[in-house]
Symmetry: C3
Subunit: 175 residues, 3 copies
Amino acid sequence: MTTMSTGAVLVLGGARSGKSRFAEGLVLGTGLSRHYLATGRAWDDEMQARIDKHREDRGPLWNTIEEPLDIVSTLEVIDGPANVVLVDCLTLWVTNLMMDEGRDLRAEFERLKAHAATARARIVFVSNEVGLGIVPENRMAREFRDHAGRLHQMIAEVANEVYFVAAGLPLKMKG
Amino acid sequence: MTTMSTGAVLVLGGARSGKSRFAEGLVLGTGLSRHYLATGRAWDDEMQARIDKHREDRGPLWNTIEEPLDIVSTLEVIDGPANVVLVDCLTLWVTNLMMDEGRDLRAEFERLKAHAATARARIVFVSNEVGLGIVPENRMAREFRDHAGRLHQMIAEVANEVYFVAAGLPLKMKG
Amino acid sequence: MTTMSTGAVLVLGGARSGKSRFAEGLVLGTGLSRHYLATGRAWDDEMQARIDKHREDRGPLWNTIEEPLDIVSTLEVIDGPANVVLVDCLTLWVTNLMMDEGRDLRAEFERLKAHAATARARIVFVSNEVGLGIVPENRMAREFRDHAGRLHQMIAEVANEVYFVAAGLPLKMKG
């Protein structure tokens, strides 16, 4: 088990790479009061069932918060040295911001970066690396991966640790 | 030349990353009796020509076996301490299983994992990492990358060594 | 700041991974006379504006050369021990070669590899890793990622250093 240092951590990985499970292990290792900030939205019953299943798997020792958009405000409310927060995941947050007309994504990213740099709670951010395939033909998909890539760079800059997870195995990129 | 330890090895990489060549080097380094388990199917003459060319390139010291589906049964037949097997590749196996109606992929994966954990022959599994691009719009493609990601985690768990290959260069993730 | 050794360097990364900024840092660290070889073509005013903005951002101490196709000839002209060249990027070069009918890409790649192996100037090649997503349905896209993957292996073979950049963080693969 890798032990998590103080400050923010970024866990990047592909689809079904085991990144969330690795991030959960980091959270458990802290011994702090656990909060799970889910950015995913239940679009249908199947998605809701999956979310419920994940919550059940994590067990009763987690405080689960669902917030698709205003995650910085949520993080501010639970910011304290006795807390650890798992934010799962940043890429869904980016998607939600893009769907919510009129959002200034740069400003949102800066606000999250500023919070991550100074938070008293420990925060583990999980996110999908999506920029290692062919350039998507769809314009929205291209914009999405540009936003995601920029956000990863910003959070990695202030994070104390950054991991890249593949096949369930973490590779330490920073820290 | 990296020397291969005992047990199973997983070599992950992208398209044209040099993963198969790296895996072949691991096999040659063992000095054991070489078996090549090809999971790819020749759909047309062009594909058949490519398979024949690869076989010729490997030379006569390899025993080549073509098995698109029941690779565990094949591995059981050639399981012995004097043998080393290159399985090329797991992602094609997943594709073949998905095309073969009625297969229980979870059960197939568990069976392969159990074999890999206890095999007396050395086995080098080659597979494509496919989860680092944008979420595919095609449902089958999404299911495929979910299956592939899960299988990679399962094999990595029991493998003694795991490599990620890019630009022909191996990065050791485990071992 | 990572210091660059003599010889060629390959910097691989995904979209918006921070690879170009990392490569620029390597170039600045050499203290040599800086050349920027841009392989991108301005297809429209928006692209031209972006190119102009990048050039302005780099500042007046860079000699910018735009060459979409014959980059080896260009590199030969500026080959000297007082120079460092940033080639940004190889994937655009591959695209341009594919669009330019009748080009023998293997021969072009061999010529670039031979130059990189013996150049007196230091050269930093930036390129997109594009082979870690789902197999593209588009045939041209499949050919493109095959070409890119082969070129990366060839340049990595003669490079003194190879980096994989994610979230702005470099991972040394070679050197």
